[in-house]
Symmetry: none
DNA sequence: CGGTAAGCGAGACGGTACGTCTTGTCTTATT
DNA sequence: AATAAGACAAGACGTACCGTCTCGCTTACCG
């Protein structure tokens, strides 16, 4: 029994080139910002031909998305304390931690591309947002299972939370720090807010 | 003594050109979306020289912003029923109503420009978002005054709500319709969600 | 009465750019040969944008043709001695004189482009060859008028002579010097060749 | 004593691949002309790897030259009627016959490559033109032997005739048909032309 | 019969030129 | 002075072909 994993024909893809491209993308994003982040520059920096770049990534956004995904693999842990608010707080603090300046710049570039082109928006949604949403959904799902929140509220909460995050990110309406993480955890999980009042 | 309001020398600015530019911007946004919305196209469509365009608006974003401001000032009415959820529901339904396809495409263009350039983001925030946030803030303020919610929750709610709106708008994560308006009103104002549970 | 010659609207074409392009073309042809003669290089050398290059010349061949035409307009004098052979000899010697290395390289580039693309070939024929052929035709026409040669022979001679010239140029089959000029003049005008023999 | 013809080690060259390449070259030349005749396309068409192509032919010109040689070796017969003009006419008519569209396109490709690169020009001259020139030289040599023309005129005539042929071929200055063949035979061998006149 | 030395297909690679596009500046004559 | 027209420099875009390379597979022969 041979492994059914039969190698494809031809010269195998160069892992070196792939790494160089993703590293160059992150480096350029860090040093130049989204403005200086173009395919020409990535290719030059990575010592890779544009041919190779376009062979594996159809657009700049695809490159950025993959670079982001790779770096995001320092997975934001999914806490499970039995308390929605504590879980949410920890999750959002970890999310905030992962948003170093380079990542933030990349997210800006991604948002710009998505806003400008619906096809890109869908790509971003389906190849990047979806994983984060799934993680948060899992966390909220536990609260639903406990009966702490309804499932429809959980579904909405994902949009409220990530919406708030991107909103602040794009328009610089407020900081994304531990304070924000705790406020959102509190506001969504709800010891504060309307509920006390409603009771009365 | 001359009148202090001394007319500037030379040919006065052409109101015709200004109107044509703003109209062309709206028309292009509607017909082509953010992709086809470039200075060249605006000038061509408006029968205006690029020179004139750049004389009066330093960038595409300024044009878009001004076009938006002109059309967007149909102020959304602030309902006052005594119930936060009802007020919020009515306000968000009105907001949804104002989001016709043309406006949505313009908002895409604005978001794209803001995401790509922090200075633009601040401009958008301070010249466009601020009035919307103030309106919602006023609505929420009444609930704070009634003691229905805390003021810090009100502040957060603004970000959650508008964040959710832009998030759906940019990434096409879900619809922006009456259903959404009611869900958000419910989720934020809170008969549903964690509160029942907290009570128990 | 104003001159009916009304200037076209807009910024006039930059003579500086035109000159720079044609000069750069000649310089590159001289220094690099047909291989290094590409649009990118011409634009770089002339400090002109590719946009400008492509605005005024649709292809490399058009640039080369115009550069050639400019330099080639030192019209080769049409001698008129009453003797076809003398006229032809003088004309071909002058033609040989005009074929300095730069011109020769340009002619190579033109021939390459013409051979590769029939449309280019026709362009070259109608915009460049035609004037040369006309000149030679005029010279031969005088011999026809004198009754020295038939007009059909004159027509053929044009092809034979210029054909021989390009043939040697392209395939380096033999030199293009005064010796060649005299041989061809002799061979075509004919004191040598079949005629003596035919007499006998 | 071993046979000096010792088979080389390893897998022998695939005759199938060689044939496929040459056939593909001819087919592409016929269907696409010199423009679509590139190594990538030849390899694709022949179901042969570019590696194989470059192993056996160092350049496109070598492939084309070999393809031409294969098909062109239907040696044009050398007539011997005792009359230069008749011989020439027959030879040129046969030459014209051999210039079917495919061959013509190949010749265009060869001319383009030769014009663009002197090394290629020499290769073409020494590997392709030379045999044609030799044939025509032999034909003219008989006329020289008969004393009909001088040997220097014969040498020139080769250039005049083939020059005229390539000139018409490359620049489409006139047809290459029996009419042309007869005119050239007449013009070179010379019952017409200057000679009658010279007599008088 | 198993080892060794090519040839071969597939196809990725770095490189370079292409021709198009958009941005923002400039130079005219006209209003 | 503002305008319409439009040329200009700059530079990224995505495509195409070049000639080289790296694989695994396929012939041959040779010991």
């Amino acid at each position: 029994m041979q492994p059914p994993e039969t190698r494809p024909l031809g010269r195998p893809r160069s892992e070196r080139a792939r790494r160089a491209v993703l590293d160059a993308t992150l480096a350029l994003a860090e040093e130049e910002g989204p403005a200086g982040l173009n395919m020409e520059a990535i290719a030059r920096r990575a010592n890779v031909s544009k041919e190779t770049l376009y062979r594996w990534w159809r657009s700049k956004t695809e490159v950025v998305l993959e670079a982001l995904a790779e770096r995001g693999q320092r997975t934001i842990p999914l806490p499970d304390t039995g308390s929605l608010q504590d879980d949410l707080g920890a999750f959002l603090r970890a999310t905030v931690d992962s948003a170093d300046p380079t990542t933030v710049r990349l997210l800006h570039a991604v948002a710009a591309a998505a806003a400008a082109d619906e096809a890109v928006a869908h790509e971003v949604r389906d190849r990047f947002l979806v994983t984060r949403r799934a993680a948060l959904g899992q966390l909220l799902g536990r609260a639903v299972a406990r009966g702490d929140i309804t499932s429809s509220y959980a579904a909405l909460a994902i949009d409220l939370i990530y919406g708030c995050l991107w909103y602040r990110l794009i328009f610089d309406v407020g900081p994304l720090d531990y304070g924000w993480a705790d406020e959102v955890a509190d506001g969504i999980a709800g010891t504060q807010g309307p509920r006390d009042v409603t009771v009365g």
